[in-house]
């Protein structure tokens, strides 16, 4: 074509150097993005000394960003917000509810902006909560924890998962930067009909459980429904397996003080996962099956067990009704202490530049009070600290089983944090390596070595950070 568009062609060629020059100029001017954390108000341990009274704060708008958009939790938060506004008529709650993925992409910008929300939900672990603390964007809550008795209300295992060290380096110890409302654990959902047809009872021990898998397979039933297309489900399955071999050591490793991942337990768990695939205990096409699709297939009767979190209870119950049962993964010996992957919902935190930290603290206390627990129970949500209403739930219902399982796990200190908390990149490393194990491409030894490589590198970084911050603290 003969259209003379030569001039237009030149534009990008000229714009590119111009843009590069702009970039270089900005660099040369020495302006770098981000804060060094010095702007944080909360360098102490919180400011309050007495129980804050939101009624005295005058007319206040509390901006809250959360990700509780699913049925049960959304209903529970909506109700509690309404009640809080009723209790303190001059406090208005401006709620921004977004899905977890949306929150992840926008929260950082919002929190580091000039007008941050007062209360946010921060995801535990290095990429989110620890980064926020290092940038000085969250207020430490230790004082409020003392004033409101959060320290006694919550088991230490749970509080620790919301702690970050003073220098913003370590996760799982140090100051308290958030408080969680809900509890969650990866349990064993079972289809009562399928088990009965195969002549099986809900297993009391891990041995009974695995023996049952073989029997289900012989009967032509799918023993465990599983879909790993979305990458993360295998982390939960693998976590449950690993906890059977070494729960306490795994927990220490995740929190940065253990022996690492190149252990017999890691290899044994990976071997078990591979064997389950090979023997057909897990569906053959697991690698190409979505998480939600697997759940749907389990709900429609395809599969005796489904190993996933308590967050799925409401959805499964809707389809399966009385056929559905739930238990923590059974212990090694009858009546023994159960162990599993689990923890708590996202932490509710107060931003350091909030203008109403005391109202925000009162809000956090309200959200996690005994009354709130009862509201959660009524909405079918598992509260981190079950209240009176939870005790009244019939123990033979699946909700009762969930609450009972949670209580037993908490009492026995049987919760092991999500493995992807271990390092900032561990989600990628672990989920990719596990997809390899599931497909049979990655050997258990290779998995252990890959995990350890990531873990070891991060531990070296951590040690260097500690060495740097130690002289600064002694000053």
């Amino acid at each position: 074509m003969g259209c003379p568009r030569r001039a237009a062609r030149h534009r990008p060629a000229r714009a590119l150097p111009a843009v590069l020059t702009l970039g270089a100029t900005l660099l040369a001017a020495g302006c770098v993005p981000g804060t060094d954390g010095s702007g944080a108000a909360g360098t102490g341990t919180g400011v309050a000394t007495a129980v804050p009274d939101p009624a005295k704060a005058g007319k206040t708008t509390l901006t809250v960003w959360d990700q509780e958009i699913r049925g049960g939790t959304n209903g529970e938060i909506t109700q509690l917000n309404r009640e809080f506004e009723k209790k303190y008529p001059h406090v208005r709650i401006k709620r921004v509810a977004r899905s977890f993925t949306d929150l992840k992409t926008t929260l950082k910008l919002a929190v580091s902006g000039n007008n941050p929300p007062d209360v946010i939900q921060a995801n535990q672990g290095y990429p989110d909560m620890v980064s926020f603390v290092r940038a000085g964007l969250l207020t430490p809550l230790d004082n409020y924890a003392g004033i409101y008795d959060w320290n006694t209300r919550y088991p230490n295992t749970l509080l620790n998962l919301n702690r970050v060290s003073v220098d913003g380096t370590d996760f799982g110890r140090g100051r308290l930067y958030g408080i969680s409302q809900t509890g969650e654990f990866v349990g064993l959902y079972y289809n009562k009909d399928v088990l009965r047809k195969a002549g099986l009872k809900p297993p009391r021990t891990w041995g009974e459980f695995t023996a049952g898998l073989a029997r289900l397979k012989e009967r032509g039933e799918l023993p465990v429904q599983f879909g790993n297309l979305d990458k993360y489900p295998a982390i939960h399955t693998f976590g449950v397996l690993q906890d059977q071999y070494a729960a306490a050591a795994t927990r220490d490793t995740v929190l940065g003080r253990g022996t690492g991942f190149d252990t017999a337990a890691t290899k044994d768990a990976a071997t078990a996962l591979r064997d389950w695939m090979r023997r057909g205990y897990l569906p053959k096409g697991a690698g190409g099956l979505g998480y939600d699709d697997a759940a749907k297939m389990f709900a429609s009767g395809d599969g005796a067990y489904l190993m996933t979190g308590t967050w799925l209870l409401a959805d499964l119950k809707k389809t399966m009704g009385d056929k559905l049962g739930l238990m923590p993964p059974p212990p090694a010996k009858p009546g023994g202490a159960p162990v599993t992957t689990g923890g708590q919902g996202l932490a509710w935190s107060i931003t350091s530049r909030s203008r109403h930290p005391e109202v925000a603290a009162a809000y956090l206390d309200f959200l996690t009070s005994a009354h709130a627990s009862d509201v959660m129970t009524r909405h079918g949500v598992l509260p981190a600290v079950p209240g009176p209403a939870a005790a009244r739930v019939a123990p033979d219902t699946v909700d009762g089983q969930m609450i009972d399982g949670w209580k037993r796990l908490s009492a026995a200190d049987g919760l092991v944090p999500y493995l992807d908390y271990a390092t900032p990149t561990f989600y990628d490393t672990l989920s990719a390596a596990l997809q390899g194990v599931v497909s049979g491409r990655t050997s258990p030894e290779k998995l252990a070595a890959t995990l350890q490589q990531d873990y070891g590198a991060f531990q070296r970084t951590q040690r260097r950070r500690h060495a740097q911050s130690a002289p600064a603290e002694s000053r």
């Binding site: 770098v32 990429p127 190409g288 099956l289 990719a432 497909s439």
Partner: protein, 302 residues
């Protein structure tokens, strides 16, 4: 040429000669372009020279982020995948589009508008919808495997998106499906502009369908092929939604692509500098490829 030149100076010029006042006319558009495209791009370039987690103070990185693009296998792989995907996103749609256009221009098809609409439909659908639909087609018990089993090819059935070897081609086929309709419609429009006499002359000279295609249709469609290649290459390289919905880069990292890596690093692993470097490299790659296409295929000199 100075903008303050007296008006008389313009009169002596031939009409159509560039004049400084022309810049005034493009100013509004240029402003919008600069604010929403040039400035953010400059910012990305700047960010690609720092290490930044998105929150705490950034530290200068020099060329570290760019060196990683070549040195780090986790960053090299996405670019290799993207180039391989171009076969599916660009080469195949153009080839199939040409075949369809050639066939449709020779044979009178009844209900041509219907076929054209159906083939063009994927272009109209949001890519999210396309991705969700194909995810269920490619599922272990999805339409594709069911069909294979029904015709006795059950041994070929596999969890397509979860298979290390087949996940990338499977995602690629979706791209082919999306791109083919666009190419065909472009080529059909182009074929109609080729003078009939050329075909008649070719036939009189005794050219068969293949010869006719090579001697008349293909050269006549050169500009359309260039446009189709440019559009599909850009769509293929910045492909994010399809990957995000279908595989999230898995299994392992078998389907990770640069655009997904940008999102992943910027928002999920707090490596904003590295994400910016990938983004800039992707821009340069797209620019280089489209310039090459316009030079080689369209025969335009830049």
């Amino acid at each position: 040429m100075k903008s303050t030149a007296p008006t008389r100076a313009y009169r002596r010029r031939a009409p159509g000669e560039p004049r400084a006042v022309g810049y005034l006319y493009i100013l509004p558009a240029l402003l919008v372009y600069a604010v929403f495209l040039l400035y953010p791009f400059g910012q990305s370039v700047w960010l690609s020279f720092v290490h930044w987690d998105g929150l705490t103070a950034a530290t200068p990185a020099g060329f570290d982020n760019y060196r990683d693009l070549f040195g780090d296998p986790a960053l090299r792989a996405p670019f290799a995948h993207a180039l391989l995907l171009l076969v599916f996103y660009s080469a195949l749609p153009v080839a199939i589009g040409l075949l369809l256009a050639a066939a449709m221009s020779r044979v009178r098809v009844h209900g041509m508008t219907f076929f054209r609409t159906v083939l063009f439909l994927p272009q109209v659908l949001a890519l999210i919808v396309v991705a969700v639909a194909w995810r269920s087609i490619l599922a272990p018990d999805g339409l594709l495997n069911d069909t294979l089993r029904a015709v006795g090819l059950g041994s070929l059935a596999r969890p397509w998106l979860g298979d290390y070897t087949w996940a990338l081609p499977a995602v690629g086929v979706i791209g082919t499906w999306v791109g083919t309709g666009l190419c065909m419609v472009l080529f059909l429009a182009g074929v109609q502009r080729i003078p009939r006499e050329l075909y008649e002359a070719a036939r009189m000279d005794g050219a068969g369908p293949v010869r006719e295609f090579l001697a008349v249709t293909l050269p006549g469609l050169r500009p359309q092929i260039a446009v189709a290649l440019t559009l599909t290459i850009i769509a293929g390289l910045r492909n994010f939604d399809l990957i995000y919905i279908t595989t999230s880069g898995g299994p392992g990292n078998a389907t990770s692509v640069p655009a997904y890596e940008v999102y992943h690093r910027a928002f999920e692993t707090n490596q904003v500098g590295s994400a910016a470097a990938v983004g800039v490299a992707l821009t340069v790659l797209i620019f280089a490829l489209t310039v090459t296409v316009s030079r080689l295929v369209e025969g335009r000199r830049v």
